[in-house]
Symmetry: C2
Subunit: 341 residues, 2 copies
DNA sequence: CGATTCGATCGAATCGATTCGAGTACGATA
DNA sequence: TATCGTACTCGAATCGATTCGATCGAATCG
């Protein structure tokens, strides 16, 4: 069923039929009715999106990349929130969301799909490569959760300052011996993070949060997780708490990691916050994970997604939107206290 | 940058350039090199997916619909697992996943996006309407988690039998007074579910699981949740446990709901499983939610997604794949015991 | 040496719409 | 009645590839 067939049946030209359907051009009521009637008779269900997108030069689809597999990415509510924000704004704009991962097997879809724009979230080691591919294809791109690049605006929170604020609270409570659990820092899976290593690192989330931590606790131990999960937080937490120089406070770079640290502490018979203070990052709803109200920094996940989507839409329309830094909000919680005497 | 420009620069015809690029036709090495060199010079990044999809009649995109908003859908790991399975298989096939919701604002994307096929998950009240739209557009569709329709195969587990097995375990332990918490049953948000109401219902997940429950406990009370969340499970759980005819066992239709019921019980000072037995459904990893190992029926979420994706791919290729029913596996857990004397 | 075959290349049709400029007919105005 | 304007309608170009059948040249075979 093509528009041509409908036009023939209705006894009008293809162009008129097109106008009648889209409701754009001046078409008499009689003609429009004829066309719609013919379409109905023939079971024509509207113009073929493929043809339309070729002609119009846009497909009405925006790609959204999340790190790792879908299942790993969406284990963290932060990613879910961001995708939700993106989907909401794009949906309102009549666009669809093509869900992509940086897994190797999804690469072909990434390279071959028709997309008008792209939201690249996370700081995958592949980002540079993917960006280059998108640049060659002239696909307007927005980074979500990493630093802007020339010609590629970014949407993020100020990770450094936010973490600094958290660390400062701990310092003000009297903590001198603090440690941190970072998000994955590099592809190599380094565990013990030294300042030297960080110097070479870029402006990733993990690196910025670590800088914020070190700006308050310059000698604090930093261990990197391999994933942002409760289990991994528990594992690293145990490593930290087993050290001879056991910290009195832990700054975890995500709430999931923080929940793991709390668990590790309780597993070792330490009370939170009396024996150990713990702060997280993200502000996801955690009642379901621990009985504590986690002290953390809430970041606006959905707003990040919405803003990224709006930014990419503006790019698609030819605008030159600027990068956006959104604000975090401190969540007091009940997992910090002065260090034990 | 078009293929035509590349062909001109390389001094060959467009058709030859196309053959050289796709690597399909017989092209001499010399020619191929010339074409690729020209492409490189001009910064041509491969054929335009829009044009290609028009000509080939397929876009390399398969839609996947989840219920509610992204954030609500992905609060339940079951949906995440299914999307992961779908993404995995489609990725391997070189296809992309267009993530759609049944929210009103996403409708335009649903109707206008170029898709070769569609996986409709859940039992949204809109399913009938969406199916009709897809039928008119001749988009091959697979249902995931609801009953097959004429011409539309489905992938699901045997919800009735699986729930029956769970209920039977409870009966065998001596329970006579059991209640159930169902997933949302209808758009109206009915809370107290009567057999009469169920008779009119279709073959939805919630209805089938309820039938399984009633086939063992014909007089058991059934309350419907409005959502599959821990909070909602706790709310309904309290309602059930406040009744004068307090049940000694609760069959929750999802693990999240079950976790909520466990919480409600503990909140009322009841011990699980001594005072109250609770079973769930799904087999998601719940260590993070309760200290109990939930007794439940594990359903293969990712496999459901994978199977649905394979089925839709077969449909796209013109095959006539059959509906598939996957198996569940009983997870003993520690939340059931004989009823208190 | 002529006929046959095969590999490489090309031209042109095609996918299904959108869109622009041109054209037509009708009614209104002077 | 002639002219102008308005409201519709149409034809044709275009988007950027893929693909089929035809052609051409060289190599192989009898």
């Amino acid at each position: 069923m093509t528009l041509a067939a409908v036009a023939r049946t209705a006894g009008v030209s293809v162009s008129t039929a097109s106008l009648a359907f889209s409701g754009l051009g001046p078409v008499s009521d009689a003609t429009r009715d004829k066309v719609l009637a013919a379409a109905d008779t023939l079971g024509y269900s509207g113009p073929d999106p493929r043809a339309r997108s070729l002609r119009q030069g846009r497909s009405g689809v925006v790609g959204m990349l999340v790190e790792n597999s879908v299942i790993r990415a969406f284990r963290d509510p932060v990613n879910v929130g961001m995708v939700d924000g993106v989907a909401e704004v794009l949906g309102d704009a009549g666009a669809g969301v093509l869900l992509l991962t940086d897994a190797p097997h999804a690469r072909s879809a990434f390279d071959n799909a028709a997309m008008d724009g792209m939201v690249l979230s996370g700081c995958s080691p592949l980002v540079a490569e993917l960006l280059e591919s998108l640049r060659r294809r002239h696909i307007p791109t927005v980074l979500l959760g990493s630093r802007a690049r020339p010609g590629v605006p970014a949407v993020d929170v100020d990770n450094l300052t936010a973490t600094e604020q958290l660390a400062r609270r701990l310092a003000e409570l009297g903590h001198r011996q603090a440690a941190t659990v970072t998000l994955p820092l590099d592809a190599a899976g380094t565990q013990f993070v030294s300042p030297a290593l960080l110097a070479g690192a870029g402006g990733d989330t993990a690196a910025d949060r670590l800088r914020g931590f070190w700006s308050v606790f310059p000698t604090g131990v930093a261990l990197a997780a391999t994933d942002s999960t409760v289990e991994e937080g528990e594992r690293i937490g145990r490593l930290l708490l087993d050290r001879v120089d056991r910290p009195t406070a832990v700054v975890a770079q995500s709430d999931l990691l923080a929940a793991g640290v709390v668990r590790a502490a309780e597993g070792l018979g330490l009370a939170v916050p009396t024996d150990l203070s713990v702060v997280g990052f993200d502000g996801i709803e955690l009642q379901t994970f621990t009985s504590h109200a986690l002290t953390t920094m809430r970041q606006p996940m959905q707003d990040k997604g919405r803003t990224a989507a709006r930014t990419v839409l503006r790019l698609i329309e030819g605008g030159r939107p600027r990068s956006v830094t959104l604000d975090c909000e401190f969540v007091p919680g009940t997992t910090i206290a002065p260090p034990p005497p």
